[in-house]
Symmetry: C2
Subunit: 161 residues, 2 copies
């Protein structure tokens, strides 16, 4: 029977991620299309802070990122730098293009396990200030990488206990 939720608890796409060769160039082109200012391009944290794991191993791979917040989702551009990563793999095998679609989740580890049990293995994961993410190796089944995105509550949002 149909229900209203994915197996990982969400039916909202909160981000589309595109891998590109030159994030500044893409950010300028997209800003011109949107009629907005060019956003700052920022580098993902180093492995020591992000705890990135690509196909199960630590890596020096990072990305330069530009983010456009649209009305119903964010459009994010990733330029791979520094070493192996899901972004670099995509650019080398597919060229530039839409790499992932993200769904918000709670309980990232549990949701990764749910998808692994469905034959959808983990491709890459990492932490960032304010949250953490997992890319699922779902291209052969779904035509695109799924991202599970867990935003952590700000410290002030935590109950004191």
């Amino acid at each position: 029977m149909a229900n209203n939720l994915t197996s990982f608890g969400s039916r909202t796409v909160c981000q589309i991620g595109l891998v590109v060769r030159d994030v500044e160039k893409s950010a300028r082109a997209y800003a011109a299309l949107l009629g907005v200012d060019v956003p700052a391009c920022v580098l993902t944290d180093p492995e020591e802070k992000s705890h990135i794991r690509y196909r199960g191993r630590p890596t020096q791979g990072r990305a330069k990122i530009a983010i456009f917040q649209l009305d119903n989702l964010s459009l994010e551009f990733f330029e791979p730098v520094g070493g192996p990563s899901a972004w670099q793999e995509f650019l080398q095998t597919q060229g530039e293009g839409a790499h992932h679609i993200a769904f918000p989740v709670q309980g990232l580890d549990e949701q990764i396990a749910v998808l692994e049990a469905k034959g959808l293995p983990l491709l890459q994961r990492g932490d960032f200030t304010g949250g953490r993410y997992a890319y699922i190796d779902s291209t052969s089944q779904l035509g695109v990488v799924l991202e599970l995105l867990e935003i952590q509550p700000a410290p002030g949002d935590k109950s004191p206990g």
Copy 2:
């Protein structure tokens, strides 16, 4: 200065379109992930009805489509059949993957002209019951095909004049 709208008047992504080799297979896999029933797979109208133009020419190219309506957009899978099309071109050059992101517009012809003036040419266009669409050849600039999607008011919505 920044404003709140794209040059074509929208900041909402209403559809993500994926090109796949076997739409029934993709629909089954995605339905299992979502926990919903497998949707019907439908064929786009023939050229006589859709008035499809791919790179400026009529074509017998069509697509078998499956649609998943999520909370904030639709996720649509396209299997190219029948002849040349933007979908077939993508499958042949890129393989399976996310092909386009769609923005709702009003006044399709005018919006196509706006983008052409920005160096973003038309790739494909066509009509369907209830609306019409245009794919913009924006991959080299934006990393993805843009779709402009114009939904026409139902007959009952028209003013009698």
